[in-house]
């Protein structure tokens, strides 16, 4: 004990009169170690700003037809041109960010909640319950992701809430498997046994001992899941099973009118395509970097290798 105290020398305080706040310093260190992750972080931040302040950033409402501006190429007035219904594409891309971010975060929140409930309970209760639940998860995971979501969306009908529900049911299955694994190894620890010996109730053990220790895994899964969900949302909207028009989803902008008019007005398809790719790239890079920094053991797991 004395040795360890001895070796921990107090770092010299720098001669600088000001110091960076610790959070900024942490972020700078992250950026130096994971430059790609930092780029991803900047993209994610830009997306969040676009989504939050869409009504201030977008020069026009997303559904407003502008007189005499049908399929205009990109110009100073219309940055990304206009579409076949004379709507400003830049404004629609900005509002589209709101959809992507809303669906992404809501889905991941719901999926994580379900996955944690399933995974932790399955690991903690064990026995027959565990076996039955895991077989259901097996069955659920043996469907291709897109086929499950398509069938679910057909069952639920189009719309924002149903889309979020369908995507989170899908994401929950595979995430619950990883969380179960993490919870199993936590439960094997002596401190859980000690807590039980002291007479703690099940709820207390799960909430105070198990959950805090699988939190890192849960956070990483959630971050990585965001990119996948945004990709899935755009794919579904592309097929016409996502969010109904006139609300601008990037995937829908790319498919319907974007595809039929793309030879005359390529900008109608190009900009939503770039937006989807950048968003997925940003979330993937940030998620990967966070995972490497927070918990390298998870490398290669939890990621469904992109939905498509």
């Amino acid at each position: 004990m004395t040795n360890s105290v001895h070796t921990l020398s107090v770092p010299k305080t720098s001669s600088r009169t000001w110091r960076l706040p610790s959070l900024v310093k942490l972020m700078l260190r992250f950026a130096r170690r994971k430059p790609l992750g930092a780029i991803g972080g900047v993209i994610v931040l830009a997306l969040l700003v676009m989504a939050t302040f869409a009504d201030r950033i977008a020069p026009y409402p997303y559904a407003e037809s502008i007189q005499g501006a049908r399929m205009k190429p990109p110009s100073i007035q219309f940055w990304m041109g206009t579409d076949n219904l004379s709507r400003d594409i830049w404004s629609r891309v900005v509002y589209g960010a709101r959809i992507s971010v809303t669906v992404g975060f809501a889905t991941v929140a719901l999926a994580t909640l379900m996955a944690t409930a399933i995974g932790v309970s399955s690991a903690y209760v064990g026995g027959a319950y565990d076996i039955v639940v895991q077989r259901v998860v097996d069955a659920w995971m043996s469907f291709p992701a897109l086929v499950v979501v398509l069938s679910l969306m057909a069952a639920l009908g189009p719309g924002l809430h149903n889309l979020i529900l369908a995507l989170s049911i899908l994401g929950a299955a595979s995430a619950s498997r990883v969380i179960r694994g993490a919870a199993l190894s936590v439960i094997a620890n002596p401190y859980v046994e000690a807590a039980r010996a002291v007479g703690s109730g099940h709820l207390r053990i799960v909430l105070l001992y198990v959950l805090p220790n699988v939190m890192a895994t849960i956070i990483i899964l959630a971050t990585i899941g965001l990119g996948t969900v945004i990709l899935a949302e755009s794919a579904l909207s592309f097929l016409g099973f996502g969010i109904p028009p006139p609300y601008p989803s990037w995937g829908a902008m790319l498919s319907g009118s974007g595809r039929s008019f793309m030879y005359y007005a390529p900008w109608m398809a190009l900009f939503p395509a770039v937006a989807i790719s950048l968003a997925v790239f940003g979330f993937n890079m940030l998620g990967d970097a966070l995972r490497d920094v927070l918990d390298p053991r998870l490398r290669g797991s939890g990621r469904s290798a992109s939905l498509l």
Binding site: L36, R135, V136, D138, A139, W140, S142, F143, P144, A145, L146, V147, L150, S151, L152, A154, A155, L156, G157, G227, L231, S234, A235, F238, L239, F241, G251, L254, S255, G258, R259, M262, Y263, P266, A269, L270, A273, I276, S277, V280, F281, N284, M285, G300, S304, A305, S306, L307, L308
Partner: protein, 313 residues
């Protein structure tokens, strides 16, 4: 080994049974009724009942499920509610199309993923490695349908060239039949190629650190022999597992790619059936897809046991 195969099969069975239940229930949750959709507004109450009875939709749902399971046992997937065509017949026409698309895509993924992964791993942090990793990140971030749109759009703008939209049957022109899959399959395989490349690179880097590889170097073997003969063999074992997962992701991706390129495969069949609420078709397709994926996973596990003698069951 035999007991392992049996045990593995036993584990797969309950999952399959649950899957059939999901497959059966899901399409029935679709709001709106196929009978109403068929007769639109022209029907009176009596007609609706008659049609429902004719299609067997008036019986209790659990009875319908048991009937369906029994029919599957006899190799009968039922018939389409709309065209009255047997689902199995339509499927035998469409499954080869999707299988060709998927297999070519998987081949493209392997042919790109493994060599590029090897090249990247031989000189880590070199120029080639940098490019390979950047390409992989790009491949994982840009969705297949975006690539498909760009591939059809950009040549059209630059050179006025558009891909042919007509689908050629195998019986008419076998060469054209295969050739028309190349572009869609390559696009479909890109994401998988990126994943395989990253895994191959990572595993090879790890294996190259091991003692037996150093021994191989010390024997004075050439780089080609050390990397390709000694190291790669061990490095690709985990890649086989991931290939099984890629089959599922390619099957899902095929739905979109078929839709974009107008390929009459299972994916289009499924999308059409969902729009028309054609229960037997949706069930049949989902069932076949699940069967294929469960079988693939089984094969992967068995191949794994053969490839890696350290694993004994």
């Amino acid at each position: 080994m035999r007991s392992y195969v049996l045990r593995r099969l036993l584990v797969a069975l309950p999952s399959l049974l649950i899957a059939t239940l999901v497959v059966f229930t899901l399409p029935r949750l679709i709001p709106g009724d196929v009978v109403q959709l068929m007769l639109e507004e022209k029907a009176y109450g009596k007609d609706l009942e008659d049609l429902r009875a004719k299609l067997g939709l008036n019986r209790p749902i659990h009875a319908q499920y048991v009937d369906w399971l029994r029919a599957i046992g006899h190799g009968n997937l039922g018939e389409s509610l709309w065209t009255r065509q047997p689902v199995l017949a339509e499927m035998t026409r469409r499954l080869p199309v999707t299988a060709a698309l998927g297999l070519i895509a998987l081949g493209v993924a392997i042919l790109i993923g493994i060599p590029v992964g090897v090249i990247a791993a031989v000189r880590p942090d070199g120029v080639l490695d940098f490019f390979a990793r950047s390409a992989a990140i790009l491949g994982l971030s840009v969705p297949a349908f975006v690539i498909a749109i760009l591939v059809t759009l950009l040549p059209a703008i630059w050179w006025g060239w558009t891909p042919r939209a007509r689908f050629v049957e195998f019986s008419i022109d076998p060469t054209a039949y295969v050739l028309q899959f190349i572009l869609p399959a390559t696009i479909l395989g890109i994401a998988s190629a990126a994943g395989i490349m990253r895994l191959t690179r990572g595993m090879l880097l790890e294996v190259l650190q091991q003692d037996y590889v150093r021994t191989a170097w010390a024997k004075g073997l050439r780089e080609r022999v050390v990397v390709l003969k000694h190291a790669l063999k061990n490095a690709v074992i985990p890649v086989v597992t991931v290939l099984g997962l890629q089959v599922a992701s390619i099957a899902g991706g095929a739905v979109i790619i078929e839709w974009i390129f107008g390929i009459p495969g299972m994916g289009q069949f499924l999308v059409d059936a969902i729009v028309q609420r054609d229960y037997p078709v949706i069930q049949g397709i989902n069932l076949i897809i699940v069967l294929i994926i469960v079988l693939t996973n089984l094969t992967v596990d068995l191949v794994y046991a053969v490839l890696d003698p350290r694993i004994r069951y």
